[in-house]
Amino acid sequence: MGKTLFEKIWESHIVVEKQNEPDLIYIDRHLVHEVTSPQAFDGLRMNNRKVRRPDLTIATMDHNVPTSDRSLPMLDETSAIQIKTLEKNCKDFGITLFDINSPNQGIVHVIGPQLGITLPGSTIVCGDSHTSTHGAFGALALGIGTSEVEHVLASQTLWLEKPKTFEIRVEGKRKNPHAVTAKDIILSIIKNIGTAGGTGTVIEYRGEGISDLSMDQRMTICNMSIEGGARAGLIAPDEKTFDYLRNRKYTPKNYESLVDSWRDDLKTDSDATFDKQFILDINDISPQVSWGTNPGMTCDVDEPIPSPDEFSNGDPNQKKGAEKALEYMDLKSGTMIEDIKIDRVFIGSCTNARLEDLIEASKVIQGQKVASNVSAMVVPGSQMVKKQAEEMGLDKIFTDANFEWREAGCSMCLGMNPDILSPGERCASTSNRNFEGRQGNGGRTHLVSPVMAAAAAIYGHFVDVRKLDLN
């Protein structure tokens, strides 16, 4: 019987395999950031261990770095300590670090592909759940905790239970691909499979609706695999993938011969079977807006907010969850999404802060101004994205419209740096999680695409971007 792409990558990375034991899996690349690594380095020191492969380990700082003027000292002392600690750890253990002043600094999942660190068929780990992003390149990319970070630093391997396989086929063509984006596809998927629909699986996204997407868009899809509960998301590499990675800073010297073998090997065999399957038809999907406090609580922009009964399908915990979510979000069922007014707009995060996201958002706002009741910011995913965008004049389009144009980092996605919502503030956000308090204590998050966020900034409330001229 044939094998899936996931099974091929897994089997080619087994170091130790025994019956009734986990597999010991070799890790090709380890990405490190300031928040989930300090205890891991402490553990190495305590046990007198070295980093086994500093050459396969790359670090940056993204979670708590300020996105304002970096020539000024950091005001938050505990963040400053965490950043200094990463600098010291990288120096002590011989790890390449893209620090706060590096032109390569940025969100770890944005810089990995941009630098050519992310390669098809490889295994990648990082102490961050959105590591699944790298699966867009056909890499098996897993988010891990700090104990596992220490284990990989020390041994370049991990003991893992083999996940199950989950095929998600995305069929059809979007009628207006500028208005209905990759973000809307992945939010639709999560709305359908639920936030635990992918638990214990590696998703492979397949079908015309996926192969049509650019690499930036594929990363948005794989990024949110974790919001569907999956261990990882994968997309088989194709010519778009190979073109993207050609001539990057860390692209291997023998790249073309690698591409030849990837072209043959890195695909699911036609007779392979998956443990689970879901099919999404995207011919008629709409822009998506989350109304609740997890990414599964999402509806079409032209729909009313569902009632807890409609949402729960008779599951009492789901119903209670929806009631609590509406209370937290200060929303009522039946309210049309387009009638929801917003206070803040955040265009950023490892989900939607790549160059294409910023280009698309800029088309919505060109020549217009942010509504007077809204404050809006753009936080590019990396300093490289920022520079490219500035070369195209995008920064001017955003600042002319009264958006703030910031330095790269995770920023308001998770509320670790000063970029947070005040209690009660409502935000149209291109990030990945609308959990209670995620963007700041008491803050209310609506997950949307970059074009939906940009349009909400201009109008002061959500609008169906299909009504706008985006070409």
Partner: protein
């Protein structure tokens, strides 16, 4: 292992409410613990005592990979989470650092066990006894792998069986 239940009868308790992002800069575990469940239940710290268990619904610990979540709960004295299901990174983090036991329960146990009930968990027989109500439920056994990591006392103490 015996303790009392703190019950959160809902699904999808995420790591951001278990320990909000702003505290991921805190390295002192005792201080971290003072912020556990801050996003969910302001009364948690007045209820919790050493040896307690949390009981909750589906997909417990979804979201971020922050190991701070099981660390913060364990440093409040929580020894086990009983839930209908777990998000995988939280589940692995809990056992890797030997912070607490993630125990998957069925609907009978979920419905039968109430806030404050005294519970006895025996992972050698996979039985959960409700002392308060004189009921017994089955827990889902740990997989071989997870059972071995737990028995070893965490990921760094685990060694595969020798041939």
């Amino acid at each position: 292992m015996r303790g009392n239940i703190i019950k959160y009868p809902r699904d999808n308790i995420d790591t951001d409410v278990i320990i909000p992002g702003q505290y991921l800069k805190v390295h002192d575990y005792a201080e971290l613990a003072t912020h556990a469940m801050e996003g969910l239940d302001p009364d948690f710290h007045s209820k919790v005592k050493e040896g307690d268990f949390i009981l909750s619904g589906k997909n417990f610990g979804c979201g971020s990979s922050r190991e701070h979540a099981p660390i913060a709960l364990s440093h409040c004295g929580i020894k086990a989470i009983l839930a209908l299901s777990f998000a995988r990174i939280f589940y692995r983090n809990s056992v890797d650092g030997a912070f607490l036991l993630p125990i998957e329960i069925d609907q009978d146990a979920y419905d039968g066990i109430s806030e404050g009930d005294e519970i006895d968990i025996d992972i050698s027989t996979n039985e959960i006894k409700n002392i308060t109500k004189n009921q017994t439920y089955k827990m889902k056994p740990f997989s071989d792998i997870i059972g071995k990591i737990i028995a070893s006392g965490g990921l760094f103490k685990y060694k595969p069986d020798q041939d």
